[in-house]
């Protein structure tokens, strides 16, 4: 039975191989069947495995499967080995389940695209790599999956490669995340040099036994791993790539740049929580970075006019919440928000994909409007997801997950009032920008007519996600409301429990407060964006607005600080001695070419004459020698 878990990442990888090798030769139907089917099989396997695994969780916390030896030298040993525990199980569930729904959706979304089978090949490779990432038994295999998803992200952002801007966005994503990845591999090197193993459990055990909390080496290692997480999860200061990553097709944004891959950083930190607990400075840095990112991205989301960029900034902001939760030691709260976020954010992106497709590639929300009556199914699901994003009290899943984070940001032993304040301002911003998005896109006068009606393959996955965006929250209810802890109980088999300090303030106070804040935000957005659009209009022309819209000038800053100096250096480097020599050779060859090319003039008698002269010369030489 245990060997079955190795099939879960293997089947999508086989799907990738099939589509990459034979994708062009098989009809589109077969390619789509293979592309979505492999992920579907993985999903069913995940369900089957999880039902057995959860049943036996009281006896065995971890299932390990060693497939074969990967690297074996005197000092170094790494296997292709998978391990399953409750943390990776939850990630596998989201990857395969949300991934499968998005694959189904893509069957229709991509049906008119010439790169249909290529798309599914990349998507399958992505699902396979992501599963390897979360199931890996050792850091090296995890890094393989980590780089695999980075590659797929690059390939899929630049999927429509004929547009040069898309290629640029893809390269930007690849290079920015590479900065983090480099830090991360150095962290893995330090762990290996210290403990002579890359097996995650052994490393964590050894670290907790041998390293002193707060020691420089623990801090350094945790900081380097955090670098990797920041790059992948688009957190400050490496967040600039995610808004540009929206150049890819919408299902890609849904799967990779919202639901799964960008949360790999959250997974990494949760997985190596031992190290972060040993490095309190880095752990607090995680919380502070999360808080700052959620604010910065929240303000930026409020000012975007491209529907997908709103969602991109909102993703950065929501992952900021997860980092905030990780930083205050609320491990299970971060993972819970990850799951709920995966549902509603995938839904938002898929809905945005439908809107953009139906309106003939119109991204600007100010040119939409009035879609409420034109596309009721999309409107209702989009509304549910936005409500979940805005954490509408009591009914949506987002409320329960975000409220938990806010509560722990204050009441956990590492929490503080400042972190909580950042979180609550972020909640207000989230409510504002998600209602702004709804009001401008779906209400008011229609500005663009829908060109066709979305089919079942797109609506059904979206509806399922909408169902989970509501119901998903009820597996984990706060003490004051139902007191259900199914989710954190499952995770606490793997992750440490959050330790609360005695604050003296009951948690329902915070729930009421955050509920009021959210409702206020929605009401304010209603006033400003629907009732009196002129109020928003005056703000639109201020300098602050364009500052927020450009993502707080981070792109411009990096452009001046890093990109231009590098380009300048490479310009100089282009003219060094070796290049001059090589270019000189090329010039010489060109000179001879231009001389000789004159002799090839197409006149046959000229050729014969040169032939005759040549023969005469050769004969003269031979005879007179």
């Amino acid at each position: 039975m245990k060997i079955l878990i190795s099939l879960i990442p293997a089947i999508p990888l086989f799907g990738f191989l099939f589509l990459a090798l034979a994708g062009k030769k098989v009809p589109q139907k077969v390619a789509g069947f293979v592309g979505a089917g492999t992920v579907g099989i993985s999903m069913i396997l995940t369900f089957a495995v999880s039902s057995i695994f959860i049943g036996s969780l009281h006896h065995v916390k971890t299932w390990s499967v060693v497939l074969w030896e990967w690297i074996n030298t005197a000092n170094m040993h790494a296997d292709i080995a998978f391990s399953l525990d409750s943390l990776s199980l939850i990630f596998m569930f989201v990857i395969t389940f949300v991934g499968f729904l998005i694959h189904i959706y893509s069957l229709e979304f991509m049906s008119k695209d010439e790169g249909f089978s290529r798309f599914f090949a990349y998507m399958n490779l992505f699902v396979g790599s992501m599963l390897i990432l979360v199931m890996a038994d050792n850091l090296l295999l995890m890094y393989l999956g980590w780089e695999g998803v980075g590659l797929c992200s690059y390939l899929l952002i630049g999927f429509w490669y004929k547009e040069p801007a898309n290629g640029k966005a893809a390269r930007k994503a690849f290079i920015v995340t590479r900065i983090g990845d480099t830090a991360m591999i150095f962290g893995i090197f330090i762990l290996f040099l210290s403990f002579h193993t890359v097996n995650i459990r052994e490393v964590m055990y050894n670290a907790s036994m041998n390293w002193i909390a707060g020691s420089p080496i623990a801090t350094l290692t945790a900081a380097l791993l955090l670098g990797g997480a920041l790059g992948k999860s688009a957190q400050l200061p490496l967040q600039t790539w995610l808004p540009d990553a929206m150049a890819g097709p919408s299902p890609v944004s849904a799967l990779i740049h919202a639901a799964t891959m960008v949360t790999a950083g959250v997974y990494l930190i949760a997985r190596t929580n031992v190290l972060f607990l040993l490095a309190p400075a880095v752990r607090s840095a995680v919380a502070v970075i999360g808080a700052l990112t959620l604010l910065i991205a929240g303000f930026s989301a409020l000012t975007q006019h491209d529907l997908k960029r709103i969602l991109a900034y909102s993703t950065i902001s929501q992952i900021g919440y997860m980092f905030l939760a990780l930083g205050v030691g609320a491990w299970s709260a971060a993972i819970f928000h990850f799951v709920i976020h995966a549902f509603f954010k995938a839904l938002l992106f898929l809905g945005a994909g439908i809107i953009i497709l139906v309106l003939n590639q119109e991204h600007n929300i100010f040119k939409m409007g009035g879609l409420r009556k034109k596309m009721p199914a999309v409107f209702i699901t989009f509304l549910i997801a936005s409500a979940s994003l805005a954490a509408l009290p009591l009914v949506t899943a987002g409320f329960y997950s975000k409220d938990q984070i806010l509560w722990y940001a204050f009441s956990s032993e590492y929490g503080s009032v400042l972190l909580w304040t950042a979180g609550i301002i972020g909640a207000l911003l989230t409510a504002l920008y998600s209602s702004r998005m709804i009001f401008i896109t779906f209400y008011g006068d229609a500005k663009t007519e829908p060109s066709f009606k979305p089919g079942k393959l797109m609506i059904v996955p979206v509806s399922i996600l909408a169902f989970f965006s509501i119901v998903g929250g009820f597996v984990e209810l706060p003490d004051s409301l139902g007191n259900v802890h199914l989710f954190s109980d499952l995770l606490n088999y793997t992750l440490p429990k959050v330790i609360l300090k005695n604050t003296g303030i009951p948690d329902y106070f915070f729930q009421v407060l955050s509920g009021i804040i959210v409702l206020l935000g929605i009401y304010f957005a209603y006033l400003v964006y629907l009732k009196k659009p002129s109020a928003a209009e005056s703000f639109r022309h201020s300098g602050l607005y364009s500052f927020f819209e450009k993502g707080w000038g981070f792109d411009a800053l990096y452009d001046t600080l890093l990109v231009r100096p590098v380009v300048w250096l490479s310009e100089i480097d282009k003219k060094d001695f070796i290049d001059i020599f090589n270019k000189g050779l090329a010039q010489l060859a060109l000179l001879f070419n231009s001389l000789l090319v004159r002799t090839q003039n197409g006149k046959i008698r000229w050729y014969l004459m040169s032939l005759a002269i040549g023969i005469t010369l050769i004969l003269t030489y031979i005879l007179t020698r």
């Binding site: 231009s594 090319v597 004159r598 090839q600 003039n601 197409g602 006149k603 046959i604 008698r605 014969l608 004459m609 005759a612």
Partner: protein
């Protein structure tokens, strides 16, 4: 039997060869050029015959038969090409048929 010295015979073949070569270089009509090539062919054949009689060997005549066969083949291919050329360019002037060149 009157015998011509072998040098004179070779000289005759040489004159024929150069006549052919000059014809090839000066003529612009591709059919005349083909004929000039034939003349050069035949001068080469003549040298074989001369050598064969000089050393009393049959090889020279055997080679000549070969050359004849090759020439026949060559002429048929050449004429076919000329037909195609004419069909395509509506001219037989080789200076006008100069499309096979590098662009400068």
């Amino acid at each position: 039997m009157l015998t011509v010295p072998v040098q004179i015979q070779i000289l005759l073949a040489g004159i024929l060869f150069f006549l052919g070569l000059i014809g090839l270089l000066v003529r612009r009509n591709i059919i005349f050029m083909l004929m000039s090539v034939e003349i050069m062919f035949n001068s080469a054949g003549l040298v074989f015959i001369i050598a064969g009689t000089h050393w009393m060997q049959p090889d020279g005549q055997v080679m000549f038969i070969f050359i004849l066969a090759v020439a026949a083949v060559e002429v048929s291919i050449g004429l076919a090409l000329i037909l195609q050329l004419y069909h395509h360019f509506k001219t037989l002037d080789t200076d006008a048929i100069n499309k096979l060149k590098d662009k400068r």
